[in-house]
Subunit: 391 residues, 2 copies
């Protein structure tokens, strides 16, 4: 596949990583946002792995989580880290790139190459900042649909994602029910809970409280709200881990010395770990993007779009679903995942459900969990047979 073929000459091109292709959409192809505004120009940074087959029937879309990127199976030039789903995606792996054509794009509103608040607004020549309309999960999926069509694909064999990525998976099956053969929403829910909104709001207020945020116009002032964003990241990070995992990894272990310091430096390992999480995050993530993506998750409520009935959202769905939850995930507890399963059952959809027993919390979907990979492997293989995809 010629990766450069996915670009057009229109649109406002920005410098992005040389290793990932970008799809440009000009003023003639705006993105219709839920906010009621047409966004153009638009650019979508993405990566692909494997080859599209002659039928164009073997495409799998990977949807990334809040702070991830479009490098699930290759090293990110931004972070220098190996792909965040490398154990899952590759030759001979559960998402086998010898069999499937795997696509992953940076979400709209993000900061890794797709249009987001750090992108230049062609109307002003300045970064959008808060003038970019609020983006929803449905908007992200709408943009992914534009990309998938641009790549010449009508129907996706599968859509897979965890957390915010799982929200996108669910939205795909609702927005484009006949364009998704199999769906794997992982560690997610059909809506964001009050507690989850609360933690996101704390993060946003931490960013907004930082005077270097400058009402969202920090670029114009040559600043970045790194302290506020670090606190936001620390808050979120605690919710990604289970109490048990924190206890096992850190407990009350002390840092550097074996006695308490009687001061406000990091005494406990958990403190220095969190500070490190906060400080490394600000190097790779745009603060306004953090506001936009958390907002998108908070707004997510599929049933809300269907008179409060989740089952109605999935009525008549021909997609094969496999939901996977993690027993110690308190951000998207098993019951939130199971609520989707119940709705799918009520809608007479085809659905499997697996709860992985682990004490690693929400982040388990990004960790090496053999049972988790086996569940994906089994479901994807079975769906491939049903789809008639030859080995």
């Amino acid at each position: 596949m010629d990766r450069t073929s996915a670009t057009t000459s229109s649109g406002n091109r920005e410098a992005i990583e040389p290793s990932s292709p970008v799809a440009y959409f000009g003023d003639d192809e705006p993105l219709h946002l839920d906010a009621g505004i047409d966004l153009s120009p638009l650019q979508i940074a993405y990566n692909t792995y494997g080859e599209l087959n002659a039928d164009r029937s073997n495409a799998i879309l990977i949807c990334h989580a809040l702070t991830m990127d479009h490098f699930p199976a290759s090293r990110s030039p931004v972070t220098g880290k190996p792909g965040w789903w490398l154990p899952l995606i590759g030759p001979g792996k559960p998402v086998d790139t010898d069999r499937y054509f795997v696509i992953c794009s940076n979400v709209i509103g993000g900061c890794m190459g797709s249009t987001g608040p750090a992108s230049i607004d062609p109307a002003t020549g300045e970064p959008y900042g808060l003038t970019l309309p609020v983006i929803t999960i449905r908007d992200m999926v709408r943009a992914q649909k534009m990309l998938v069509e641009r790549l010449g694909i009508d129907t996706l064999f599968a859509v897979i994602g965890g957390s915010m990525g799982g929200m996108q998976v669910l939205q795909w099956t609702v927005s484009y029910p006949d364009k998704v053969f199999a769906a794997l929403p992982i560690a997610t829910g059909a809506r964001h809970s009050a507690q989850n909104i609360a933690f996101h709001e704390i993060g946003r207020q931490a960013v907004i409280a930082d005077p270097d945020w400058e009402s969202g116009r920090y670029f114009a002032h040559g600043k970045r709200p790194v302290k506020g964003l670090a606190v936001a990241r620390m808050t979120a990070h605690v919710t990604y881990l289970s109490e048990m995992a924190l206890h096992r990894k850190f407990g009350r272990n002390l840092q550097d010395r074996d006695v308490l310091g009687f001061g406000f430096d990091a005494d406990f390992q958990i403190e220095s770990y969190l500070r490190h999480q906060g400080m490394t995050f600000v190097d790779r993530f745009d603060a306004n993007s953090y506001l936009y993506l958390t907002r998108a998750m908070d707004y997510f409520d599929i049933a809300g779009d269907f008179d409060g009935s989740l089952a109605k959202a999935f009525q008549g769905s021909q997609t094969r679903f496999c939901l996977i939850s993690f027993s110690s995930d308190w951000l998207f507890p098993t019951e939130e995942n199971r609520a989707v399963v119940h709705a799918l059952n009520a809608a007479a959809a085809s659905v499997s459900f697996v709860e992985i027993d682990t004490d690693r919390g929400h982040d388990a979907f990004l960790l090496d969990e053999p049972e988790f990979f086996a569940a994906i492997d089994g479901f994807v293989s079975s769906a491939a047979r049903a789809r008639g995809l030859s080995r």
Copy 2:
């Protein structure tokens, strides 16, 4: 009892609320801190309710939680709010002020009248700020012991407190085992967990990230780190409530309007509720005090002082214990409370344990929970009979 008799002429007197007495301790009576420093002068703001009996055997010490004060049963002149344990303490109530002499003092390190980081350091004439040594729960209890002795009381009939107050109760029984007849540690634990330290560290970093904190010297700059402190409070507040309580109270209910605002104003009621919690807190609490008190809780680890053996800490205790936990408390889950019960059993101490079934989370200990009050009533009445306190 003549309240003014509890003061001495030594010490550096500060303006405090006219309605609460203050005990002053001069350079001849320093407080020996765990940090290895003698702190003087010292002042302890407190309130009493009821009358001390002739035997001086009916005194109950109430220990307050992180952000509370020494006004459990009377209106606080700072907040203007009625006593925070008014349903529990008063004539004819479970802690019956017709029968008992009830004492409550503001903790050392606090900001409601007792010596804390906002107090004037007599050596400099400026507020201590971060030059005040780190305070521990044991230091708080040591100061309370000085106050109790000053009030002419040798042995307390009971010590009662929830959360950080419960830590003080446990510390009393370990530091002064023969001075406490009955102990009621509520919604607490024998140590702070990694997750609890994590949430406190987020709060501290939010304060420290605020440039108006000025390295702790905000008073000298005529500033206050209100934004950082508000974020800290928002974070803590979420941990005080259960997910169920948040869902019941707020769910995804919208604020002011019935449609999403597509912006970053408070759309959801939970957002405006949290913002309100943050903004009202900064009016009544000192930011450095928040650092000191959270640090004290993080340092708390009774077993750590006894070669890791909690049972050893309670060995030979003659105190009657009643521990109370709340089923939906995820800050101090029932298992943390029960770990103390097990240690007390191993130490052959007298112990009762009650888990109150409620979905209101950690904050339940400050709410109107009839079963909770009934448990305290029953235990205190029984202990009073054993103590030979006539009705």
